[in-house]
Amino acid sequence: MQSLAEPHTVNPVGAMVPRPFRLADRRQDTADTFTIMLEPTDGVPLEFIPGQFTMLSAFGVGEVPISVSSSAHVAGPLQHTIRDVGAVTHALANTSVGDVVGVRGPYGTGWEVTDGAGGDVVLVAGGIGLAPLRPAVLEVLTHRERYGRVVLLYGTRSPEDLLFADELQSWANQEIEVLVTVDYGTPSWFGRVGLVTTLITRAGFAPRSSLALVCGPEVMMRFTAAALIKRGVRPDKVRVSLERNMRCGVGLCGHCQYRELFVCVDGPVLPFARVADLLGVREL
């Protein structure tokens, strides 16, 4: 992996120019989260690896880093699952089919799911963290025979906030053990209520031969990684996806600097062992 001591060799000019993509479709996933399906106006698909992100432009409003949520192997629209929380994401939420948005990238490191081939794979998602993990799930499903047991542990705020609810069932039907928990439920919710870390002891996987991919809020990732390691997963086999204020995407502007790391090029996916100390530092 590159660091400050190793100058990045990306051509910053080419990397800074957004490509126009047309909105082919849009899906409202939850009250505040939606998925946009984008087609390149020049017809050239954007290649990426699971875990990477792009810079999405709402022209005239701004840019925002969003992880790709579609399959890297199946031809089709480029998908991003976005939570409507700020000016740019709000503008993207209000785009209509046929509108054009800008896409730069893809940037950063990926999950490298293939490292888990021959062993078990544990995917742990918190909230909208399921979106960056979706391409990894789809990659595993594409080559399901290469992996042992595959477990998806998903924690979210409430039953109404479940992402990809239909797909969760479909994945469960394709030999993925899917365990879901919510922070709070109503009497009509018969599923689990509790923290996602409580699922780690319940899931069926062999820890010593497992690759664990974790995505969610940093506090959740810290406790999840600790629980995975306590169960026996090797620390170098736990990967997390960090979220920082990515701007340029090529390691030049420094907005996403995380001590010696530039998250846009060194991350967003990093071995937990590399960032374990950093995650506990206040205001870093």
Binding site: D183, Y184, L195, V219
Partner: protein
Amino acid sequence: MSPSRLASSCSERGSQANQFFVVRRGRVAIEVHGPAAGTMVVDTADAGDVVGWSWLVPPYEWLFDARAVEPTGAVAFDGQCLRGKCEEDPRLGYELMKLVTQVMLSRLTAARLRLLDLYGTAGTTSPLLSPLLTEAKATWARPINEGATDAEPG
């Protein structure tokens, strides 16, 4: 200690807590009811989990409602009897407390993390907390000097 199939409600807040349960299969929802929030499920217990700690602590009354949300099998333990045994044999009591404390700590940690509303957006409040805050505001938001008349200094 006898195997027991939980009724639809195995504990009711305020009632005497002389038993606790170890769930063997199925699921039990731990519920709380409030005027602002209605009934909310704040936790669930699955196979291997313990339901009920109130038998350990005076006044030995259930603090939450527990309800089986699917066909559930559990082993019921006589907490009152076990309390007596622990009083008679402090070594047993200490060993039991060590086990119980581990589980309680993990539940407390999980509850605290959920209060952070990790998956909410900035500025939102945990749905577990918001009804409490609403009630607290209604109680405490009145100005301290409400009803008092301004007095001119003499």
